[in-house]
């Protein structure tokens, strides 16, 4: 008998790691040959473009408000245009010495907007707080009281105007939208028709034609000798426009409430308004908060259109800052990038917030 000595077979290779940065790169960048090829192509393109862009925007850029320095050959982006003109870009034609008022008003409004997004502020006193905020905003901006100099609304401009237009129109549009949404689901044919026609009419035309109407035709609509400030006209136009879109969003929420709940409410003897107030709207509105948030982002971007009817919000303020100044006009693209960054910061953070809200709303449904 031969003695069998124990012969271990060769150890198997440890399985590939699936965690850690190296494994992540292997799976996500070089998973198979197509992925590898894409990585090479896209990565190559990025390696070619990104350094060029960075060199233009950062390393070779001129940062000082000196237009001679910007014209030297080989200089990249001229951020000096922002350093020189930022007050006109941010506040438009608002009187230079009084711009602290616009800044204060804007900060107040922003603080209130940010505050309204946090849970601690979701209390009944939020609505009156907003009324007070708006009143203070108007007092600060318009003046003519408490020793403040009067500033006509046609001189308002820049970022405060953008924020005012977006938030004021949104607040005014909300009640209209709620009524119209309920009206579109009403059993009364006449009311349903009126609401449907309103929504479809507004949604069928571009905002710019509504704004043209507000600025050219509104004076014709009013009795002789009765004139309305252009800012108010534009706010009315944007409000009517936003309300139609929001009504559709709210209607979507109303439709999602099962019919059984309405029947149960009717069985309990609740009236129409009691049913809506206690059963339908609380659920429907909570459901559509993320969509309303998206509406608000759209509205915020759409306020840039009022430039076309000569209200100088952020986009318009940039034109008045640069168009009349031959020294700085060649660097308009840097100005555009600056306000694009402002819009992006606002809209991106709002869309992140909307995702957070969506999670909060769905928390109750997750089992």
């Amino acid at each position: 008998m031969t003695a069998h000595t124990f012969q271990p077979i060769a150890a198997r290779r440890a399985p590939n790691k699936t965690e850690g940065p190296v494994a992540w790169i292997r799976i996500n960048l070089f998973g198979d040959w197509i992925t590898g090829l894409m990585t090479l192509l896209v990565g190559g393109a990025l390696l070619w473009i990104v350094p060029q862009f960075l060199s233009w925007a950062v390393f070779r850029a001129a940062w000082l408000p000196d237009y001679e320095a910007c014209r030297v050959d080989g200089v990249g982006a001229c951020w000096g245009v922002v350093a020189e003109k930022y007050r006109i870009i941010l506040f438009g034609r608002y009187p230079f010495e009084e711009q602290w008022r616009a800044l204060l008003a804007m900060t107040l409004m922003l603080a209130m907007l940010v505050g309204s997004c946090t849970r601690a502020f979701w209390k009944p006193w939020l609505a009156p707080a907003w009324v007070v905020t708006l009143a203070v905003f108007f007092l600060l901006m318009y003046g003519d009281a408490m020793g403040l100099e009067k500033v006509e609304t046609d001189r308002w401009g820049g970022l405060p105007l953008t924020i005012l237009l977006a938030s004021l129109s949104m607040m005014l549009a909300f009640p209209i939208a709620m009524v119209v949404a309920l009206g579109r689901r009403s059993t009364m044919p006449a009311i349903r028709t009126v609401c449907t026609v309103y929504v479809e009419l507004i949604r069928g035309v571009p905002l710019i034609s509504v704004l043209f109407m507000a600025s050219f035709m509104f004076p014709l609509f009013m009795p002789v000798g009765f004139s309305i400030d252009v800012l108010v006209r534009v706010v009315i136009g944007i409000t009517l426009f936003a309300a139609a879109y929001m009504a559709e969003v709210i209607r979507g929420g109303l439709q999602a409430i099962p019919k059984g709940q309405l029947e149960a409410a009717a069985t309990l003897g609740l009236s129409y308004w009691q049913t809506q107030r206690k059963i339908v709207l609380p659920q429907a509105l909570a459901m559509v908060v993320p969509s309303i948030m998206n509406n608000f982002i759209g509205l915020f971007k759409d306020t840039s259109l009022v430039t076309i009817v000569s209200l100088y919000e952020l986009t318009g303020a940039l034109s008045i800052a640069l168009n009349s100044d031959a020294d700085w006009r060649p660097f308009k693209i840097e100005g555009y990038l600056f306000i694009a960054l402002i819009y992006f910061a606002f809209c991106f953070s709002m869309s992140r917030y909307s995702i957070w809200v969506e999670k909060q709303v769905n928390k109750g449904k997750a089992r």
């Binding site: 992540w24 996500n28 960048l29 998973g31 198979d32 992925t35 894409m38 990585t39 896209v42 990565g43 990025l46 059993t187 009364m188 044919p189 006449a190 009311i191 009126v194 479809e200 009419l201 949604r203 069928g204 035309v205 571009p206 905002l207 710019i208 034609s209 043209f212 109407m213 050219f216 035709m217 004076p219 014709l220 609509f221 009013m222 009795p223 002789v224 982002i297 971007k301 759409d302 840039s304 259109l305 430039t307 076309i308 986009t315 060649p330 308009k332 693209i333 555009y336 990038l337 306000i339 694009a340 819009y343 992006f344 809209c347 991106f348 869309s351």
Partner: protein
């Protein structure tokens, strides 16, 4: 057992819901009518006081302004209605090309969000977030500035073969119209008809025998082959109007103006970001198990996509996609900001020249309402066709 008949339900009462409904409706209609009457009478009165003429008779008058780009001859002696027609054609031109391009880019980016490659995923994410969070007006202005400021003068145009890109826009070789092209067109139409017949036949065959015939490549082949055949029968015309560098500018060839390019680029890239999100949501809405089940049944990846994923995803995608198409069309009205002569910009010029604000704005609204409503009708029809058949 009592035989008392319960009292007959009263048909009508002051307190009945039906009666109150009628009152509410009358009130609502009355308020709306009163509002409209108030606005209309004020408008009429104001127009009388200010001596503004009204009516659409101005449409026959000579317009008195030139239009930078038009698909058919137009000069300042042409009547206003002609100018509005040019504007309408320009709007539709940019909207249709934009819709096709935005669908392509949006779909690619939307699918790219599911790529196995992290770089592609990240790039698509950055694209979407960057482009949808900056106002479209600002993007249009930026593209226009880039095209008119940073590009070289026409004499130093960037050249790719017969294509010239400069401050004057994109100049390209234009195929010259000949009768042979008509034959090609006839061939294409015939091919489409043949493909349709083939599809119907293949479908019947599938129903009766279960054999799968190609529903995509064969019809496409039929379409292309008959088109080429028709073109060849017509004498294979292949003359192009080639542009060349003249003494002062690039001469001949077809041209796309910087205004058109800026509007097209801006609208396409902006809307594509939204379309990408729509496509992503659509694909995500189909449960992963469906794909696995289809693969387990032995369908190949192409069939899984075409027969299982896509029909279900499309149901989710189509309605918001329609909205994006309508948004693109409506946003094309912003072309007025950079001087592309679309219908809004023509209306604006006419309004300033004639003072007929009501009429000019009414025409604009009519144009967009017609486009929007007809698109929604078309899409509703498609939507009803692709909806889940519930029994």
């Amino acid at each position: 057992m009592s035989t008392k008949i319960p009292p007959k339900k009263r048909e009508w009462s002051w307190r009945s819901q039906a009666f109150r409904g009628v009152i509410y409706q009358l009130l609502a209609v009355g308020v709306v009518a009163l509002g409209v009457w108030f606005l209309a009478s004020n408008t009429l009165h104001n127009m009388q006081v200010r001596g503004i003429k009204s009516g659409f008779d101005f449409l026959g008058d000579p317009a008195g302004f030139d239009i930078g780009e038009s698909l058919f001859p137009f000069d300042s002696a042409s009547p206003y209605w002609n100018a509005f027609l040019v504007g309408l054609v320009n709007t539709l031109r940019v909207a249709i090309v934009g819709i096709i391009l935005t669908t392509l880019i949006g779909t690619l980016v939307g699918i790219g969000r599911f790529s196995r490659n992290a770089l592609v995923r990240g790039l698509c994410y950055c694209y979407v977030e960057l482009f949808r969070n900056i106002p479209i007006l600002l993007q249009l202005l930026m593209w226009y500035l880039l095209l008119t400021e940073t590009l070289p003068l026409a004499m130093d145009a960037i050249t790719f073969g017969p294509f010239f890109l400069s401050k004057g826009g994109l100049i390209f070789p234009k195929p010259l119209w000949e009768m042979g092209h008509l034959w090609g067109l006839i061939g294409l139409i015939g091919g489409a008809a043949l493909a349709f017949v083939y599809r119907a036949w293949a479908f019947r065959r599938f129903e009766s025998t279960g054999q799968i015939r190609s529903m995509f490549w064969v019809p496409l082949g039929l379409f292309v082959v008959t088109g080429v055949l028709g073109w060849w029968v017509g004498g294979a015309p292949s003359h192009f109007d080639f542009p060349f560098k003249g003494d002062f500018s690039i001469e001949r060839g077809g041209a796309l103006t910087p205004e058109f390019l800026a509007v097209l680029l801006g609208l396409t890239l902006y809307t594509a970001a939204f379309v990408a999100e729509v496509v992503r949501a659509g694909i995500q809405s189909v449960a992963q198990g469906q794909n696995e089940a289809a693969a387990a049944l032995g369908l190949n990846p192409g069939h899984v996509m075409r027969l299982v994923t896509l029909p279900q995803a499309l149901r989710v995608i189509i309605p918001p996609l329609t909205n994006q198409y309508l948004n693109l069309t409506k946003n094309s009205s912003l072309a007025v900001a950079i001087g592309y002569p679309d219908v809004v910009s023509i209306a604006n010029t006419s309004l300033n020249q004639t003072g007929r604000a009501v009429e000019a704005i009414a025409i604009v609204m009519l144009v967009y309402l017609t486009t929007s409503l007809s698109t929604s009708l078309l899409m509703n029809w498609y939507n009803a066709r692709s909806a889940i058949k519930e029994r």
